[in-house]
């Protein structure tokens, strides 16, 4: 069977609400409107207004409320219409949620999921296109997940909801409508993926491509192209930004000796930067070429379609970088 990421997320929420009546969802338009992106479709009808609650447009207020309810022992799912708006509430995510278990010497636990679309969508310009993976991923106390496929969407979402700690769950608007074939196993109501474990989406021997979310698909497409030219790329889907599965990454690079890290967000202090640093630290002597990264351009997101396209990684960018690290093509600086 085939399923979209949207359906994957929706079914995961549905099943976990059925599984544990401590689970509830709050956020803007999650109820009567069925979700701005329809991820919560049908849940209000099924679980009622006590468990699916539309909030005012007050991110700090409802996020704090969610964290407080988690302190108390409930299992809130807080939807941000997009993660851009979570900046209004980020103090609660970091200071109230991530740090409380630690500060209280283990007394408080904070079983909460913060979820919503993250990063670039299409044509929504600078204020609505930021990727927050690196920010949240830097904070001890948080677990930060980013699904690519339906398998990820279901397995990670269900794991996030059952997890006793705060989880930041970074979806991608453009991926919501993507379909994937799913196995029976993935559809099982007890299908959970381990938090902190990356997935090798494709095995290869010449170069390791590391990415997450939408960029995994780009890497897979790049790998197909590269195969035609005789380059065998291993594609790692991080799934978890924090904890970062350094073991899987390093193991792969030790095999391929080459690394290209890919992300859609800004480069400085990004996930790709961390991947490169981690590999350099741990597997320096295995590297046959300088690791590279393909990232969002280091600019706020422009609206115009032509500029927007240049502002995020494209498959040819990945292919070009791979060829460089494989010494297949001499890099040529493009005038700009």
């Amino acid at each position: 069977t085939k399923m979209t990421v949207r359906e994957g997320l929706n079914s995961a929420l549905d099943e976990e609400m059925a599984y544990d009546d401590k689970v509830f969802i709050i956020g803007e338009e999650v109820g009567e409107y069925q979700g701005a992106y329809k991820i919560t479709k049908g849940l209000l009808q099924k679980y009622g207004p006590e468990r699916v609650r539309d909030t005012p447009i007050t991110e700090a207020g409802f996020t704090g409320l969610g964290v407080g309810a988690a302190f108390y022992g409930l299992k809130p799912i807080v939807e941000f219409m997009t993660f851009n708006f979570a900046m209004q509430a980020i103090d609660h995510i970091i200071n109230s949620a991530a740090k409380s278990h630690y500060m209280s010497g283990g007394q408080l636990t904070v079983p909460i999921v913060f979820r919503g679309p993250n990063g670039a969508a299409a044509g929504v310009a600078a204020q609505h296109s930021q990727c927050f993976a690196a920010w949240y991923g830097s904070c001890p106390g948080l677990k930060v997940l980013a699904p690519y496929s339906v398998e990820d969407a279901r397995g990670l979402m269900k794991a996030a909801i059952r997890d006793p700690d705060p989880v930041v769950f970074l979806e991608n608007e453009i991926m919501y409508g993507e379909s994937f074939a799913v196995s029976k196993e993935v559809l099982d109501p007890n299908f959970l993926l381990p938090i902190g474990k990356a997935k090798i989406e494709r095995e290869g021997s010449d170069v390791t491509l590391v990415s997450f979310s939408k960029m995994v698909g780009f890497c897979l497409k790049a790998a197909e192209e590269l195969e035609k030219e005789g380059i065998s790329a291993e594609v790692i889907n991080l799934r978890s930004i924090r904890p970062l599965d350094r073991e899987t990454i390093n193991k792969s690079v030790r095999k391929t000796s080459r690394l290209v890290a890919v992300e859609e967000g800004w480069p400085q202090h990004g996930v790709a930067s961390e991947v490169i640093a981690s590999v350099t630290e741990d597997s320096f002597e295995y590297l046959d070429a300088a690791p590279e990264r393909i990232t969002g351009a280091d600019v706020p997101m422009p609206y115009a379609a032509n500029l927007e396209k240049m502002a995020v990684p494209q498959i040819p960018d990945i292919i070009r970088a791979v060829k460089r690290v494989c010494y297949r093509e001499v890099p040529q600086q493009k005038a700009a």
Binding site: P56, I57, F85, E292, V299, A304, D317, Q333, K334
Partner: protein, 361 residues
């Protein structure tokens, strides 16, 4: 120009302040101006709707049709040294501040002649010269920003005010209350203007606010509720408000208005409200029809005169759409422009593939 006095039918409702008079001074030119401007705005938004559907416009696009009286009434009481800041529903605000239909349309298409050179899109239009500070995409953020502009006006000892506009949904944002308290403490000339169109996206005001009496939500700050479908009432409120704010600091103005379209282009706008509600308001409170009737009843122009104005507006919008379509996309180098206004020495900007594209400025 013929001076006139018109009695606005809906009384001003107030909180901790005496209401302005319902007798509003106006003139033939002003009323014809209202009609012309509002009609043009309406045409422009309808054109945008069509262009969105035919994929000339992408992403978020929030239309203003239905709310035009707020914009023209407000502008009639202000000058360009007064400042305006609003949210993402800003196309008509841009026009009101002296922008052109081409600037709006080209921006919507992401083309070079857009008022932000195509880099901002629907939500990010500005006219710094005329003190229009956008076009802000984050709900509520524009309000403290507007208070900051008002701070600047007072700091420079100018006789001007800032209008900070926000929706009924935004009215619950904490930063509004923070900004209001500061504005009140420091007597800043800011008009907190809630465009109450009665819905956020799909959430009716009473589901998002315990007290949807937005004109009274300033608590210790006075407020006035205004028929936001009546350009003259709006003008009167802002005239009163400007004087008040220059003397006393902030004032809350609630504009009772309505958006005909859905929240944005992805919202049909008909799941959370009835078609009857929409058509009822169109029939009874439409801001353009109200002015048309007034003009005709006062015999300031004939029905044919108004038709001519409409025709002219249509032509202007159609031409602007054509011009916007043929406006080029921004040059690639614009991707790397405007990161900073003062570029540091040896500044480098990375493209997606930094080994391939690194711009040195």
């Amino acid at each position: 120009d013929e001076k006139l006095t018109v009695t606005v039918p809906v009384p001003f409702k107030t909180h901790k302040i005496d209401p302005p008079s319902q007798e509003v001074e106006t003139s033939k030119a002003e009323l014809l101006g209202f009609f012309t401007d509002m009609y043009k705005m309406r045409r422009m938004e309808i054109a945008a709707d069509g262009l969105y559907k035919s994929k000339f416009i992408r992403g978020f696009c929030h239309l203003y049709d239905g709310q035009e009286a707020v914009c023209v009434g407000m502008e009639a009481a202000l000058n360009y040294d007064d400042a305006i800041i609003t949210a993402y529903r800003d196309h008509c605000t841009h026009l009101g501040r002296g922008g052109t239909v081409l600037e709006v349309m080209a921006e919507l298409m992401g083309h070079r002649d857009g008022c932000s050179q195509g880099k901002g899109g629907s939500m990010h239009m500005y006219n710094k010269q005329h003190n229009f500070y956008g076009g802000n995409g984050i709900v509520g953020a524009q309000v403290p920003l507007g208070v900051g502009v008002a701070f600047g006006q007072k700091y420079n000892k100018l006789p001007n005010v800032t209008v900070a506009m926000y929706g009924d949904g935004a009215a619950n944002q904490g930063q509004l209350f923070e900004a209001l308290n500061i504005a009140a403490l420091w007597n800043l000339p800011c008009l907190f203007t809630c465009e109450n169109n009665h819905y956020g996206m799909g959430t009716a005001e009473w589901r998002s606010a315990k007290s949807p009496a937005y004109y009274a939500r300033g608590d210790y700050v006075p407020g006035i509720k205004v028929d936001g479908m009546d350009a003259l009432a709006v003008k009167q409120a802002f005239k009163f408000g400007k004087e008040y704010a220059l003397q006393n600091g902030p004032l809350m103005l609630e504009m009772d208005t309505y958006r005909y379209h859905g929240h944005s282009m992805s919202d049909p706008g008909s799941t959370y409200r009835t078609r009857d509600e929409i058509s009822g308001i169109r029939q009874e409170r439409d801001p353009i029809e109200r002015i048309r009737k007034l003009i005709l009843s006062l015999e300031l122009a004939t029905a044919a005169d108004l038709k001519a104005i409409e025709k002219e507006s249509k032509r202007e919008v159609d031409e602007a759409v054509d011009a916007a379509k043929s406006s080029p996309q921004p040059e690639e180098k614009l991707l790397y422009d405007h990161i900073h206004s003062g570029t540091p020495a040896n500044f480098q900007i990375y493209g997606a593939d930094r080994q391939h594209v690194t711009v040195k400025l």
